[in-house]
Assembly symmetry: C4
Homo-oligomer: 174 residues x 4
């Protein structure tokens, strides 16, 4: 655990998969072709707190929907990459552009398509209900399932490791 906290202390960018990580994997589809997703309010607040400490956030997803744009805009997340069947190339372009080293990046995933990126980052995180192969390659597993607080777990874990959690939460105790 000491080792994993050390890894988390170095993180400057957290990249999230969307379906199964920021949601429970449910793809709500309608007769008219619209797509719906159920995000989580407590995840959203965690992501805002983590950003406030200076850590950047990004999402990379294999699917494409306008609903992801809406949600990420409301969370102030600029780095949004959709329709990426292969996540590694866009990921590598992103960290090169941000001039980050692998040790400074965390990735949070749930399925095997996340493995090429997950296996390369400094801190590899699987949600609690991830595919077994993803869990076996992760440094850390969130206590919560995807869409049910997993992203909040990640944000608090990194703030804890970086010594920022007490200050962020303490602001609500004044």
């Amino acid at each position: 655990m000491k080792d994993i906290l050390d890894k988390a202390a170095q993180i400057k960018l957290v990249v999230f998969d969307v379906d199964g990580v920021l949601t429970d994997g449910s793809l709500y589809l309608a007769d008219d072709g619209q797509e719906y997703k159920a995000f989580n309010s407590r995840d959203g607040h965690g992501m805002k707190m983590l950003q406030a400490t200076g850590v950047e956030l990004a999402v990379i997803t294999g699917r494409t929907s306008k609903v992801v744009e809406h949600r990420m805009a409301s969370l102030g997340i600029e780095h949004v990459f959709q329709g990426q069947r292969h996540k590694l190339p866009v990921f590598e372009t992103l960290i090169a552009g941000l001039k980050l080293r692998m040790e400074q990046v965390a990735f949070v995933g749930d399925d095997v398509v996340d493995l090429p990126v997950l296996r390369r980052v400094g801190l590899a995180i699987a949600v609690q209900d991830a595919h077994p192969l993803v869990k076996s390659h992760a440094h850390w597993q969130t206590p919560s399932n995807g869409g049910r607080g997993a992203a909040r777990d990640v944000c608090e874990f990194i703030m804890q490791a970086q010594g920022n959690l007490d200050a962020q939460l303490g602001a609500y105790l004044l």
Copy 2:
């Protein structure tokens, strides 16, 4: 418990957070930008019974959506404050306007943004699946999770403490 029932006996206003309290925290979003929430029918009936006993209800939420307006209107709740990133100022204005003392107010929350209000009210209530820090500052925790009966728990608990529960439920046993 005696002490908490004493606190509940004095309550004249119950203020609810929305996401994670009246819902399970799921933010359903659509491609076209619309927002959806899943409220709970049994919560609604509890809130109507509690109002019938003379206790006032209010909601204060950090987010803004028309769906909250619709639901609160159907429940007959007048005091609806949305888009309140900081909940304390509007809360203080509300209780000043209603000429209530802190001991006469209960607040029901699930996340750390609720703490500034929660820590000041006479009866601080956390839903069962609230953030641990919120639970640690609450006088009482609902048996049910947010969106799955937590608000109903609150309403029956307060009616019980005020000696009104048997009359409210008994009306259905005539």
Copy 3:
């Protein structure tokens, strides 16, 4: 149990509450005011089988929405009463019109508003996650929760008591 099966054997009409019985109590609302409900496919098939044995079905609900009309039409249910804050008067009109005695009617409910009807019918059924007061007044409790198979439980229980279950299910084993 023998006694309850005897009661079920006489049933000619089953009346269902909607929210919390045919759904899990979630009221999905949208920004534009539309309402959505999540019904259950296995419940639907049970209701069709029970109707095929000659038992009539009805729903009485306190709320009003077009979505209930749509669902009941697709299940071939004619007796649909919405917006009934007090369920007893419309219920009594219904059974008088159908020339049924109380012993020939079952009611399935989840909340205290269902009690006035529930306490009068020949077979009073509460879903597994009903309000405790409703469960205490029911002759039988479904193994499944509302919206998660409770109505299917009811339909198979009555077909079993009336000696029709094997024939209905057996048709799929030819």
Copy 4:
């Protein structure tokens, strides 16, 4: 288990029921008559991997909705049969057209309407939360419930039996 893996090794076509198998059985309906379904992202990836190994997929469902068309198109599934109250005739036409023998076909179901097909195929699969009668007639039961990974379980089970799982998953470990 050896026997079931032998059956799975011969499968060239997997036919899925929709409601309760690719979803959790929830039928989301709206006031305006639209229908919505919640599919699962990890199921979708499993179905793509299985197709990549040369196994064909089909769906046969008793209901009819445009949302099923949309989802199946996005998964590249051509054989989509909706509105089939009786599933056996269309199933027999399908396998005759594909020139397959019963031993080469698997069917995945959850309810009794699936039994006429389920009892004839070489590999009969019930989702974990299927009707007890369906489970009793299945060769194999998925560890996951319908809509919560059952289809992914099926796809990995067949790839495992056919010696293709390591290659499919291994592609993400390069």
